[in-house]
């Protein structure tokens, strides 16, 4: 098994296991509370408005917005880790069909692994620092690495075998 294939298959398996474990702990300890809080905040916002307490209504609505911001990113990061890991494993099975030298294949495989790990991590970190530009930039770099690696892979597949 070539180095690039090992990187993709074992890296993908490790990333998938990490993503699943992260999702499991989130589902067990955080998700239900978050969903209750999200639904409760929205209901409270309307309920406070019905009682003509507009300050409390607005406060509850802001809480709803912030909770949803976190929830969407937590779920997205978990599913992107696992999805990208599955893609890496599938690519690992046939990576020798990517018609480049092994050196270039290793660079492509490493870029995909780095991008797949970094992009969801930066998304999760945004839940601790809402709107932080550095974290947004990190997510862009991570997704850019994954996109560039996949574009190179597509090109490698399309090149005719010698």
């Amino acid at each position: 098994m070539t180095g690039s294939r090992k990187l993709l298959i074992f890296g993908g398996m490790a990333l998938a296991a990490f993503g699943m474990l992260y999702g499991l702990q989130y589902a067990l300890f955080v998700e239900h509370q978050t969903l209750d809080h999200m639904g409760g905040s929205l209901a409270q916002s309307f309920s406070a408005a019905a009682n003509r307490n507009l300050a409390q209504s607005q406060d509850a609505l802001e809480q709803y917005g912030e909770t949803k911001y976190d929830y969407v990113r937590q779920v997205d990061a978990h599913s992107h880790w696992i999805g990208l890991a599955m893609l890496m494993i599938v690519l690992g099975v046939i990576f020798e069909r990517v018609n480049f030298s092994e050196g270039i294949r290793q660079v492509v495989a490493f870029s995909l692994l780095a991008g797949s790990a970094l992009f969801p991590l930066a998304v999760i970190l945004q839940t601790y620092h809402h709107g932080a530009v550095v974290l947004k930039a990190l997510a862009v770099v991570g997704s850019g690495l994954a996109i560039a690696a996949l574009a190179a892979t597509a090109w490698g597949f399309a090149r005719p075998l010698k």
Binding site: M1, G39, A50, L61, G65, L87, V90, V93, I147, A154
Partner: protein
């Protein structure tokens, strides 16, 4: 990968039980041996494609008969909530939100059933690919495959039933029987994956393949699926990056702003304005949903195409028919996400075309499934029987 030094002690006999006479003359001999009738690999491939086709069909039915109707009921609930706010009736507001929770559960469990059925199918295909590297006995691998397919069926069925069964007859305070079924099926899948990992660990120690590796066939259907699948995933990545960069944050800001205006209008007793805001809220939810659906569907179809490229040598059809199914699958894989996106501009017409795209993928999958089924020997026997009868 190393060559097979010797078969596993209790592995399958490599003597073919069924031939593929008349269908595929250009097979690597080792592959036919590893794909004998009812092998674990065949169970995973057949079950995986069937699960994906069933999940897609369920998604199509859900999109046509439930999705839009459910969204309309959510809008009605928000109108009722606005009226309750205008009337100053906090108890009615809470009642409406309880009802809204039930509507969201109805929608959510159906989406989850659709997603889990397809994902179990993907995992089954992935497991089919790695079977040569799972150093377990043939019987154990077959049992695991049967358990996995059973779990892959029961998990979405359990999730689907959660909304209908609720807590009826349940001894638990918050978990109903349908949840128990879904969780048990999920545990079954995890158990199978753990045993597979153990089998892989045994392979790493012995370096002995338990069955022949996948044949390295270089055919047009295989290349088209591989390249097409990679391009579909790439397009999905690019669309996701565009959505995250230009629309995600704007949509998040818009959601709270619309809700704020809705509440303000209802508090002021202006129900007409509140209704307009509810419509805007629905449109925003629709815009988010179609973007996320297009992004996820194009990537899922790309991954599916890539995995199907591996199993093409197992599809016992003529080259012409294999090409037809591949074109249909790739065509549907482009049409569905593109027209899901266009639903915002073209409305239900685009939705209908997207459903046809989904149907194209389903038909292509069923076509390939028939090709895999032909290897069961049933049709071969019929052909042989007819030939012998004619003599």
């Amino acid at each position: 990968m190393p060559a097979i030094p010797r078969p596993m002690p209790d592995s399958a006999s490599f003597a073919p039980t069924n031939s593929a006479r008349g269908f595929a003359p250009n097979f690597a001999s080792g592959f036919v041996l590893g794909f004998e009738q009812m092998s674990a690999r065949r169970l995973y491939i057949f079950g995986g494609i069937a699960l994906i086709a069933a999940g897609l069909l369920f998604g199509d039915i859900f999109a046509v008969f439930i999705l839009h109707q459910n969204a309309a009921r959510q809008a009605e609930a928000l109108i009722a909530a606005s009226r309750a706010v205008a009337a100053g009736n906090a108890a009615a507001v809470n009642e409406v939100f309880s009802h809204l929770g039930i509507l969201l559960e109805d929608r959510g469990t159906k989406v989850d059933s659709h997603v889990h059925m397809i994902d179990a199918g993907y995992l089954a295909l992935l497991l089919a690919l790695v079977q040569p590297y799972i150093a377990l006995s043939r019987r154990t691998k077959k049992s695991l495959a049967a358990l996995f397919i059973a779990g892959g069926v029961l998990l979405p069925v359990g999730i689907f039933l959660i909304h209908y069964v609720g807590l009826t007859g349940s001894p638990f305070a918050a978990i109903g029987w349908a949840s128990v079924l879904a969780d048990s099926a999920g545990a079954l899948l995890i158990f199978v994956l753990i045993v597979q990992a153990w089998g892989f660990w045994k392979y790493l120690r012995s370096r002995q393949l338990s069955e022949p590796e996948l044949p390295d066939e270089d055919s047009m259907p295989r290349r088209a699926l591989l390249t097409g699948g990679t391009i579909l995933i790439l397009l999905g990545f690019l669309h996701g990056a565009y959505y995250a960069g230009t629309l995600l944050y704007e949509h998040e800001r818009m959601e709270t702003a619309i809700l704020q205006r809705m509440i303000n209008a209802a508090t002021a007793g202006n129900l007409d304005i509140a209704t307009i805001e509810i419509n805007d809220f629905g449109n925003l939810a629709g815009a988010r949903a179609v973007n996320i659906a297009a992004h996820s569907h194009i990537i899922e179809f790309g991954l599916l195409a890539m995995m199907l490229s591996f199993v093409q040598p197992f599809v016992f059809l003529s080259e012409k028919w294999k090409r037809r199914w591949v074109k249909l699958l790739l065509g549907g894989s482009v049409i569905l996400p593109v027209f899901v996106l266009l639903e915002l501009k073209l409305g239900l017409l685009a939705g209908g075309i997207a459903d046809i795209g989904g149907l194209m993928v389903i038909v292509a999958l069923v076509g390939m499934l028939v090709g895999i089924l032909r290897y069961s020997g049933g049709l071969d026997a019929a052909v042989r029987g007819a030939t012998e009868g004619a003599r």
